[in-house]
């Protein structure tokens, strides 16, 4: 047993985190920045952080992840990283020629108190930022929040680039939150079907799901252009998906550019997708085509067809707040029973939302923000479940406890598909169901005694 030292009885821990359900801010900022067209993310700190973030994203996507670093040495750590960053900006624009450099900080540069705007001014004064190029920055201290906070901070930095146009451009700003490239693609497709004109940022589709052609493009064709990001100031409104990932940027656009906003749940599962589509068509003033209603109907159909295998099944969940909120709602709506839910990201609001969503389940659920997977495992030992849903690290729990396991979230280091097949929208709901039913029924087929083994399920 690979987690054989995890005891069943739970003792309170105040200082020690074991098997975290979160990681640090910069990786989120890096992922968000990859959703800007022709942009090189830059990590302002020592080179190790950048190497780790690139490696993790590479393992998750099996795609090249380019990002530069200020490569702090001990001297820079003591005297400040200005010289390193100015030199880095110069080298980046000369050697890699991006249109945009999106800088995020690290624990190190935050601890010494480097001030990004001031360093950018210096770089501009020294003529290190060529004409027509953009440098933007987000503070991402990892001793606050989590990777989700870092993502949100970088998206907020994008919103801070917005320019208030003379006129509204007739588009809805859509902030998708930390979802996969395939999900971003699917959100665009759904908006297109509804007839809503959207300006979506960030957009990693076409960036982290690239083809093999014999050519390497450091800056692939996808991503939201910096012009479009700037134009978000002229949007008719902002639809932000996910309180944790997207709300800050949307509210900033509201205060700085008077673009009204609405924050709704990420469209995972039936009801959250219903709200998403409904919000889109209301804002855009269009009617929803039959095509979408048919997709929806297919999802409802599959739930009804297979309800007997889902009903009452207990689920343990680990992931990020926005995703878990929508997923919990989906599971409850199909009469499954999410009983243990952990996120590493802090926020009491999360626990409250989950409690509301599960209120009618007729039982208490275990939920914790700023929790860890060690605790989740202990909960499972105390009350076993039928299914675990979460990132790849769950496989150690799944193996020890012999549990069916669906990979969903970040990071997924040992399976493929998440970058190509969406889990948002009704079609995404179908895929989630397919995966859930797949592991549950495989388990049934494995465990059923011979006389009960059935051909038709």
């Amino acid at each position: 047993m690979l987690l054989r030292h995890t005891p069943k009885e739970i003792s309170e821990r105040k200082a020690l985190m074991i098997n975290p359900a979160k990681t640090c801010q910069p990786i989120g900022a890096m992922y968000a920045a990859l959703g800007i067209k022709d942009c090189l993310p830059h990590s302002h700190g020592s080179q190790g952080c950048c190497a780790y973030h690139r490696s993790t994203l590479t393992r998750h996507y099996k795609e090249p992840i380019s990002a530069a670093t200020s490569s702090f040495t001990e001297g820079a750590s003591v005297f400040g990283g200005q010289a390193n960053l100015v030199q880095a900006i110069d080298n980046i624009f000369t050697v890699y020629e991006p249109k945009v450099v999106a800088v995020h900080t690290t624990c190190l540069s935050e601890t010494i108190g480097d001030d990004l705007p001031q360093i950018f001014d210096k770089a501009k004064k020294d003529k290190k930022v060529p004409e027509g190029k953009t440098v933007l920055g987000a503070p991402t201290p990892s001793y606050v929040g989590s990777h989700v906070t870092g993502f949100s901070n970088m998206v907020k930095a994008m919103a801070a680039m917005a320019e208030q146009g003379e006129q509204k451009n007739g588009k809805i700003n859509l902030i998708p939150g930390w979802v996969e490239p395939a999900d971003m693609e699917e959100i665009k497709r759904l908006a297109g079907l509804v007839g809503a004109k959207i300006n979506m940022f960030p957009d990693t589709s076409g960036v982290l799901d690239g083809p093999l052609t014999g050519k390497y493009k450091m800056f692939p064709d996808g991503g939201t252009s910096i012009e479009d990001i700037k134009a978000s100031g002229g949007g008719i409104g902002t639809l932000a998906l996910g309180e944790w990932c997207s709300a800050d940027a949307a509210r900033l656009l509201d205060t700085t550019c008077k673009v009204p906003c609405s924050v709704i749940d990420m469209p995972f599962g039936l009801k959250a997708t219903d709200r998403f589509i409904d919000a889109l068509r209301t804002i855009a003033g269009t009617s929803v085509p039959d095509e979408i209603a048919i997709e929806r109907g297919k999802l409802v159909d599959m739930v009804s067809d297979m309800h007997q295998y889902l009903y009452g099944k207990k689920v343990a969940l680990v992931g990020d707040p926005d995703q878990l909120i929508a997923m919990t709602e989906f599971l409850v709506s199909i009469d499954m029973s999410p009983v243990h839910i952990v996120t590493g990201t802090p926020g009491k609001k999360f626990e409250k939302r989950i409690k509301e969503i599960t209120a009618d389940m007729g039982r208490e659920v275990n939920v914790k923000a700023a929790g860890d997977m060690f605790l989740l495992h202990q909960w499972i030992k105390n009350e076993p479940v039928d299914l675990i849903i979460g990132n790849t690290y769950c496989k150690y729990i799944a193996r020890d406890e012999d549990l069916p396991f669906v990979r969903w979230g970040f990071p997924i280091l040992d399976r493929q598909g998440h970058q190509h097949f969406p889990t948002v929208g009704y079609k995404g709901g179908l895929r989630l169901l397919e995966q859930i039913l797949g592991v549950l029924l495989d388990r049934k087929d494995r465990d059923d005694p011979e006389e009960k083994f059935e051909l038709v399920l």
């Binding site: 987690l3 030292h5 003792s11 020690l16 985190m17 074991i18 098997n19 975290p20 979160k22 990681t23 640090c24 801010q25 700190g45 020592s46 080179q47 190790g48 952080c49 190497a51 780790y52 690139r54 490696s55 993790t56 590479t58 393992r59 099996k62 090249p64 380019s66 990002a67 670093t69 200020s70 490569s71 702090f72 040495t73 001990e74 750590s77 960053l85 030199q87 880095a88 110069d90 080298n91 980046i92 000369t94 050697v95 890699y96 690290t106 624990c107 190190l108 601890t111 201290p141 990892s142 001793y143 606050v144 093999l212 052609t213 014999g214 050519k215 390497y216 493009k217 590493g344 150690y396």
Partner: protein
Amino acid sequence: MGKAHKLVQWDPHNVKEKLLEKYPPKVARKRAKQIMINEAQENTTPEIVANVRTIPGIITMRGCTYAGCKGVIMGPTSDIVNLVHGPIGCSFYAWLTRRNQTDGINDSDSNYLSYCMSTDMQDSDIIFGGEKKLEAAIQEAYDLFHPKAIAVFATCPVGLIGDDIHAVAKKMKEKFGDCNVFAFSCEGYKGVSQSAGHHIANNQVFTHIVGSSETEKNEKYKINLLGEYNIGGDGFEIDRILEKCGITNISTFSGNATYDKFASANQADLSCVMCHRSINYVADMLETKYGIPWIKINFIGAEATAKSLRKIAKYFDDQELIDRVEEVIAEEMPAVKAAIEDVYPRTKGKTAMLFVGGSRAHHYQELFNEMGMKTLSAGYEFGHRDDYEGRHVIPDLKVDADSRNIEEIHVEPDPELYRPRKTDEEIAALEAAGVDFKEYEGLNPMMEEGTIVIDDLNQYEAEKLVELMKPDLFCAGIKEKYSIQKLGVPMKQLHSYDSGGPYAGFQGAINFYQEIDRLVNSKVWSFMKAPWQENPELSATYVWE
């Protein structure tokens, strides 16, 4: 793969020029010294600059000191609780992401490898200091697991806010009595690469663990295997072979390591150094403090494995062992030969580039040679000059500011445990018979004339190299993998091996031949263009049946 365009001849000087062309002048000057053309020069051998700072903004392959310390050296140990003091990320990324295999067999049946522990510092800890939290975390880890040792690792912010992790460790060690607690000041900003982290880790293991074992090892032919990390099970294969020969590997630093194996290292009669970069200083210290001589060996490549076994046997100077080693080689070699014969027609003449670590860019050339493949260009990610040019340059190495802040520990012969394993005369006789002690000749002599040796290769240069020289295979790490493969060139990770392994020893060599054959001859590289892209002109009309 349509490689007709491959016959273009390239001149190494030309290639070097092209690599530097686009850089700002300052960067070009610096990089020029780290790109060396391997060619004879009047009276001297070419020199390379290595172990120097990475240039800000230039996308490097390197990681940090913490990665070298926690990730590489301490990562593979099963029965020590590794606790990272810092914000969460550093610990998260080093969680199970290297493929160092561990069987978890040790006297306390402990395996903490699959656990990731951190103090998860928050802003209040940064402002008010994190010592209290660290102390509490150590206590909680002790209460939960009762391990025999807890190792504490500092990440960047810790050094800056001045937490005294060593004092906390000492206090807790004294408090517990039955648990050794020690700490590593391996903040990522120290040094210029992972290499500094290896050094910090090894120094602490040497100071806090080596020599403390109570159990006496009475086996024959006892060795230490230094600088072997059991990636993909390499160490398991090496141990299999050693066992078969009757040689006892007391302690591997640090593949599949346990606390007690580290603690017993002083009882070996010979240290065998695999990765010179990460550990040569430990070999020196083991000799000075305990009297154990060291030799350089290499178990990557079937011939190199045979050679290394013979060298070890010769050292022990015992006919029984010498004969046994020959028997083992004779038993193992036919399968190796058969595997080479199988792949050779398909791998012969293919070309490779290797940019990894601190020894593999050298060692793996053995395997490529056995397959008839030529290495066009190679270099280390965090090697030092002696790893390129050989140990004779060590006295001339400049100690710069970045190396100076890495602690060098000074050791003396241990009053009780020092016992020279060979007399000076015996050493001299062995040397005369071809066993060279404390010797490593480096990567450069292995490389053909006119090849290009590049230190700390970066993303831009890698792409250019591939574009200009069109190798059949590129070897580096995970961050480089997919940009190279997008170019249509297969890429093999030689840090973590992607998947598979072992590649060390005899069975490992066979695995490697098959793996490289698979990679360079995979059909997938022929599918990059669709039929309509191959022949875009509508020259023929569609032919119906």
